[in-house]
Structures are given as structure tokens and as C-alpha cells.
Assembly symmetry: C2
Homo-oligomer: 261 residues x 2
């Protein structure tokens, strides 16, 4: 059962938008998708209108050891469930600083949840982990729990700079904490095909990272920025838009790469 | 001597672009501006092409107690000097977790630097602190060291959500660590006047935050995204562009609000 961490320490590149809409694209074809919001901003939680911040959230699962099943909420979108974030997550580094194996807490919580849910025949088919814009303890928990990393990026100058650091962290986590971790792909988001900058950066990415670069592109389109205001995925808000088309194509490409039917 | 923290935990809203170009706008009128890059991504350091990551950086100043003056580098842009970041900053939460007064390290380093520099008659006229997209120990150091907070934001749905949390953190820092801290203003960045979403969010901001909302607007323009690739500010890269105009206007408005001539 694939677990995908959606991560880039660069801010504002489309991580949350990808978690919400890739999740919805997979959910609407009958799969059960579990989303986990690991960002203190709780943007994914807000995006899919589960923003009441009732306990337990991801914070209580990681810090107090609450079972994950107590934090899972059903969502209006077909096939989706969510472990919400809460603003308390911004204090998690301090809260976990003395905890043994602090980077492995999410992995253990997910494994316990999946084992128990499988016994009842109702586990998720796929897990998506939305990460904050940093390489701190929450992102490390995601990398240690996941088997794949999806890296959204914006096709602008700062995108190239951060990739080397990110891939180095992935390599270290794979070596020390999670040997099955691999990079699923690099996903260009917010692509504005009219600018030279975008084309230049895409060229550099292809040169440096070769086939890690996915075929899919998520074009910049205001409908994707409007959907969170309505608490919906792009499929519920604007099913015939470019945004829906692009996330549909991404779901198809990743199903191929993951070997899902 | 004003010290301004440029902060928003939301990622990709224009913090680094504002630090570089507001700094350059003030520097070219004869002021001495010290920039401090507190983000492990080191985007400000790269933006102004000081990206060789030699020690000491902000990391050694905070963790090893190296004097700030050893980390300050002169830049090509007139009037600007920089304390560079380094990727080591991503491990700072762990490095400082047991340190007494860990949120006050930057304040003490800046005070020592300014006192000594003033004795030689060469201190900065203004300090700008570029923060990472989080409310962790680095941003708290910036808030404890600064007397003003400038909040760049993108006029999109997630912008409104984060403001309440950010203002609450500013209030707590002002009460417990830094009584002189106030909000200088909220700066709309990446503004695309053609979309309804932008106009809607601006309306909500004016309603909720009143005169905290600055008059200035930074319009979305590809030249601002191209300038970092050349290691220059917008004034060196495209002096007649909308981006240069907007940051010039911002520098004028803030000089008025700060009572600088
Ligand atoms: N393809 C797109 N077209 C237009 N707007 C987009 C697109 N993708 C994302 N956005 C908008 O851009 C902003 C940043 O996207 P998002 O919040 O998903 O990025 P993020 O990487 O999760 O940010 P953070 O680093 O803060 O977690 C949001 O306002 C979002 O609505
Ligand atoms: N007004 C603008 N017009 C066009 N592009 C812009 C503008 N301001 C910033 N950008 C670009 O948008 C991206 C995000 O901006 P920037 O890196 O300054 O944000 P940030 O808040 O510092 O991000 P982070 O949260 O990762 O530190 C960058 O690629 C930058 O070049
Ligand atoms: Mg996000
Ligand atoms: Mg930045």
C-alpha cells in the first residue's frame, strides 16, 4: 500500500494543492485515500474544509501517542479521509526534542493503523503526506514513514537551488531510517508556459535530474487557487478546468509508475 | 536604528524578494543596510550572489557564539551588507534545544555588533531579517531581535488563514521577550490585479486588519523572478520595471512610517 510524502522545503510551490487534488483524483476512481496534514498552517485541513481543529490531530498522534484511527476524519470528497493538522504542530520540535526515535513516530502510528484496519478489511489503498516547507522533524517523520517522495516545484530560479539539499536529505533518510524510500518524481507546478524563465528552468531540470522529472505539468490557473476557498477539490469546484485535467493526468501517470491498476 | 523582521509562515509569498529589493531600494539612497538571512534555503544569500557558504554564517553566530562582525559580508549592491545563511540552519532546532534563552541569541549578537560598530562610526542604519516559512526558533529569534515586523502575503485564500496565528505569535513575543515589537504593516505581494480572487482577499484584509494593510502593492512581474538568477536586485537587473517602481514606492512608504528622512 503506497505511502507518498509530498515534500519540498521551498515554500509555496504547490504541495498542499497537489495533496488535495491528487488525492481527490485517486479517490474518485474508487480508491480509499488517507491524507495526513503535517503542517502547522493546516492548509490541507482547511482546503478540504475540515478546519475545526478538534483534538486529536496529527499533533496528539505524534506527541501523546494517540492511535491514528482516533484522528482520522471522513471528508465530503468521495474516497478521502484525513488526519488533520493543528497549529500546535509549530511547537513540535521542542515537544519531541528528547524523544527517542522521534523521526519514526509517524511510521509506527501508520503501521499500527494499517494492520488493524486491514483486519477489518477497510484500510486505505494509498496514503498521501502533506509536509511543511522545511526539513525538520515533521518532514523527516514523513520521509521515514513513506516509500515514495513526490517533489512539487515551481519553475523559477530558487527551485533548482533547493533540489540538491532535498535529495541529499532523502538519501540520508533512506540509508539510516528507511531503506525502501525512493523518489517517485519531480512535478513542475504553477507552470506559466508563456515565460522564458519557466522554459529555462525546465530545461535545467531535465539536464540535472533526467527521468526523475515527471511528464505531467500542473499549469498555473486561478481556479486551483479559488477551490480552497470553497473547501473543495478542483474536481468538485471546477471539473472541466485545466486544473482538473492536469491533476487527472498526474494521477494516471503515477498509477503507471506505481504499478496500480 | 530600526530592525525589521520580514516574516510569514506561509511559504512562497515574497519574503526573500522583499528583503533583497527593499534593502537595495534603501541602500541606493545612501543608507547602510544590513541583511540577515535566517533561512536554511539561503535564498537571500543566493539572490544577492553571496552563495559560497563559507563559515561563519548565521548558524555559527547563533550556535557557536561567533561575533556577528565575522559573518558580515559586503555585497556588490550599493549600501548593502549580508550575514549569509547556510544549509546547516535546518538542524538548528535540535542544536539549540537545550540552550537557555535560545530565542534571544540573535538579539544579543546584533546588539554587540551595533555597539562596537557605532564606536567606529560605521554601524548600519537599518537591519532587515529574512525569515524561513515557519514560526520556529529562527523566526522567534528574529521577532525577539526586531522592533518592527513586515508581513508579505499573497492575495490568495491561505493568506487570511495564517494571519491570525502570526499576529498571535507576535503578541506573545512582545509580551514575553520584546516589549518594543510592533507590526509595521502587511504587504500584498505577487498581486495579479486581473483576478477576482486578489480583489476579494484584499477586501477581506482591509476589513480585518484596517490600517495595518500598507498602501504599497507589489505586482506580479516576471522580472522580479528573473533577477535572482543574475544575483542582483531588481534595481541592478531591470531598473525601469514595474518591480523596481513598486519596491521604490514601498521604501518611500516605510521611510514615512518609520520617520526616517
Ligand atoms: N497550479 C496552480 N495554479 C494557480 N494557483 C496555484 C496552483 N497551485 C497552487 N496554487 C496556489 O498557490 C499558492 C501556493 O500553493 P500551496 O499552498 O499548495 O503550496 P505549498 O507548497 O503547499 O505552500 P507551503 O510551502 O506554504 O506549504 C496557494 O495560494 C495555492 O492556492
Ligand atoms: N512580485 C513578484 N512577481 C513575480 N515573481 C515573484 C514576485 N515576488 C516573488 N516572486 C517569485 O516567487 C517565488 C517566491 O518568492 P520568494 O522566494 O521571495 O518567497 P518567500 O516567501 O521568501 O518563500 P519561502 O517561504 O520559501 O522563503 C520566487 O520564485 C520569486 O522569484
Ligand atoms: Mg502547504
Ligand atoms: Mg524566502
Amino acid at each position: 500500500m503506497p505511502r507518498i510524502a509530498i515534500l519540498n522545503q521551498k515554500g509555496g510551490v504547490g504541495k498542499t494543492t497537489t495533496a488535495a487534488n491528487l488525492g481527490a483524483a485517486l479517490g474518485k476512481t474508487g480508491r480509499r485515500v488517507l491524507l495526513v496534514d503535517l503542517d502547522a498552517q493546516a492548509n490541507l485541513t482547511l482546503h478540504l474544509s475540515a478546519g475545526d481543529f478538534e483534538e486529536p490531530s496529527a499533533f496528539e498522534v505524534l506527541v501523546d501517542g494517540r492511535p491514528l484511527r482516533e484522528a482520522v476524519r471522513a471528508l465530503a470528497e468521495p474516497g478521502l479521509a484525513l488526519v488533520p493538522a493543528s497549529p500546535d504542530l509549530s511547537g513540535i520540535e521542542q515537544a519531541l526534542s528528547g524523544t527517542i526515535g522521534r523521526e519514526l513516530l509517524l511510521r509506527d502510528a501508520l503501521e499500527a493503523y494499517e494492520t488493524e484496519a486491514a483486519r477489518r478489511g477497510e484500510g486505505p489503498d494509498l496514503v498521501l503526506l502533506d509536509c511543511p516547507p522545511s526539513l525538520g522533524v515533521l518532514s523527516l517523520n514523513a520521509l521515514a514513514a513513506a516509500d515514495q517522495v513526490l517533489v512539487p516545484l515551481q519553475t523559477e530560479f530558487f527551485a533548482l537551488q533547493g533540489m540538491a539539499q532535498l535529495l541529499e536529505v532523502v538519501r540520508l533518510v533512506a540509508r539510516r531510517l528507511n531503506p525502501r524510500l525512493t523518489v517517485l518524481g519531480i512535478l513542475p507546478c504553477l507552470v506559466d508556459a508563456r515565460t522564458n524563465l519557466s522554459a529555462e528552468v525546465l530545461g535545467e531540470l531535465r539536464e540535472h535530474f533526467g527521468d526523475l522529472l515527471l511528464e505531467s505539468r500542473i499549469r498555473k490557473t486561478v481556479k486551483l487557487a479559488e477551490a480552497p476557498g470553497f473547501g473543495r477539490s478542483i474536481f468538485a469546484y471546477a471539473p472541466d478546468s485545466k486544473g482538473a485535467e492536469d491533476y487527472e493526468a498526474l494521477a494516471r501517470e503515477l498509477r503507471g509508475r506505481l504499478g496500480l491498476r
